[in-house]
Symmetry: C2
Subunit: 210 residues, 2 copies
Amino acid sequence: MHPDVSQKTVGRWSLYRRLLDALSRTEQRYILSSDLARRSGVTASQARRDLMHLEVAGGARGYEVQALLRAINAQLAPAEPQAVALIGVGNLGRALLSYFQGRRPTLQLVAAFDIDPHKIGRVIHGCRCYPLDELEAILEREAARIVILTLPGEAVATLGPRLIKAGIRAVLNFAPSHLDLPPSIHVEDVDITMSLEKAAFFAATQEQRS
Amino acid sequence: MHPDVSQKTVGRWSLYRRLLDALSRTEQRYILSSDLARRSGVTASQARRDLMHLEVAGGARGYEVQALLRAINAQLAPAEPQAVALIGVGNLGRALLSYFQGRRPTLQLVAAFDIDPHKIGRVIHGCRCYPLDELEAILEREAARIVILTLPGEAVATLGPRLIKAGIRAVLNFAPSHLDLPPSIHVEDVDITMSLEKAAFFAATQEQRS
DNA sequence: TTCTCTCTGTGATTCAATTCACAGGCACTG
DNA sequence: CAGTGCCTGTGAATTGAATCACAGAGAGAA
Ligand SMILES: NC(=O)c1ccc[n+]([C@@H]2O[C@H](COP(=O)([O-])OP(=O)(O)OC[C@H]3O[C@@H](n4cnc5c(N)ncnc54)[C@H](O)[C@@H]3O)[C@@H](O)[C@H]2O)c1
Ligand SMILES: NC(=O)c1ccc[n+]([C@@H]2O[C@H](COP(=O)([O-])OP(=O)(O)OC[C@H]3O[C@@H](n4cnc5c(N)ncnc54)[C@H](O)[C@@H]3O)[C@@H](O)[C@H]2O)c1
């Protein structure tokens, strides 16, 4: 695979895929980089750069939608489905469970974990909730290499070493705590509070910014 | 105010504030840039650069926690509270309402909007839900300049012009659709699906990356 | 077929953000 | 009250990403 693809490019592939997916259910057979770009909110040359890394040739009518979609899927979705686990079945965790359950066939939410006895043992949005103690055992059994963290920030700190031992490869972290993991594990932080505060900051300073 | 503060820096201020806030409730009076950095997952020189823009002098024992906290608050939290509205009271919207209700006194969730008759009129996590038709009227009444979008992607497209008319200054958008707004309105996109797909991509490529 | 027009693919360039590296200063030590 | 060591503040250098700009190619017109 291409070793020289930037993280940002991977993110935009996901974006393009969403559009192409919608397009592929319409009559439209071709799409111009400039269209794709405008509809994704990026510049045309950036879109072309991103598509460059996929080995799809565009022509004078643009890119063939199906071919692009296949190429991006080949990058983003590996041949066999990936198992995902979620830790912390609170308000946010449940929203995610409900949203992702069955939406992406290549990303399967196979297990949830919590410490709350009321939640343990229940099946929430089609996903069984286990006690946190069984984390390692069940991650191994389900071959889950990706975890979503939606538990309180304080609780996250102690989790690092356990995730390493369990052989986790990537983490999607919603908790506002820095996870100290080796660089071989990819950490994607989604800090909603920070995003809202950024929005508030720029709302307050009347000057326009990009 | 400083016109030359990068968006990324603003984001990290929010991060530092969270740590300082916790510290300010302990005995610790001073903090080193290197500590702050390690605990936020950034480098020490980056932290120093970010703090440079605040006008707080650090000494040989580091920075005074209270002084830093005050300086960051002065930047992030304007004198009077900012009103925030939320559109789309679904699973994610409710999680956000519950989380932010009363957490930041300077950010008040004053109104929610939906088109579902079952939700309209109810008070959800302390926030009244109005019909979407009344959007402009109520945003004006409450002087809300910030909106959170947690409605389906297709519905977002039609919303742009209404947000402009309503005098919105910043948007926190969870829907996977590009919002085309003038640059005077700050748009903060939080694309959870994209983040998960990025995580999955890097989990699948065994090579280690930062 | 030939001519023209527009779009892609990409080297070169610009722009932004991060890191380096060190001068200057404060705190602690003896 | 020097002397030492670590920490800050910040220009300079570096890295990385986005943009520019243009050569080359395919599509359609006549
Ligand atoms: N909900 C939001 O809108 C929102 C916004 C910003 C940030 N966050 C962050 O996302 C995380 C989750 O938020 P939430 O609103 O869902 O919280 P929540 O309180 O609703 O849920 C937290 C869940 O984690 C469980 N839990 C607590 N300690 C645990 C542990 N050690 N191991 C496993 N499970 C444990 C709790 O039992 C609960 O079910 C928090 O870190 C929060 O700061 C959430
Ligand atoms: N929940 C998640 O975990 C998650 C993950 C990724 C992306 N998202 C995105 O976040 C958004 C919300 O997700 P959700 O899970 O809360 O969805 P949801 O279906 O639970 O809620 C959507 C809400 O929006 C309301 N709505 C629909 N059309 C509307 C309109 N025109 N005006 C106002 N309200 C309208 C619906 O009545 C419903 O209450 C979606 O765009 C989704 O793609 C959510």
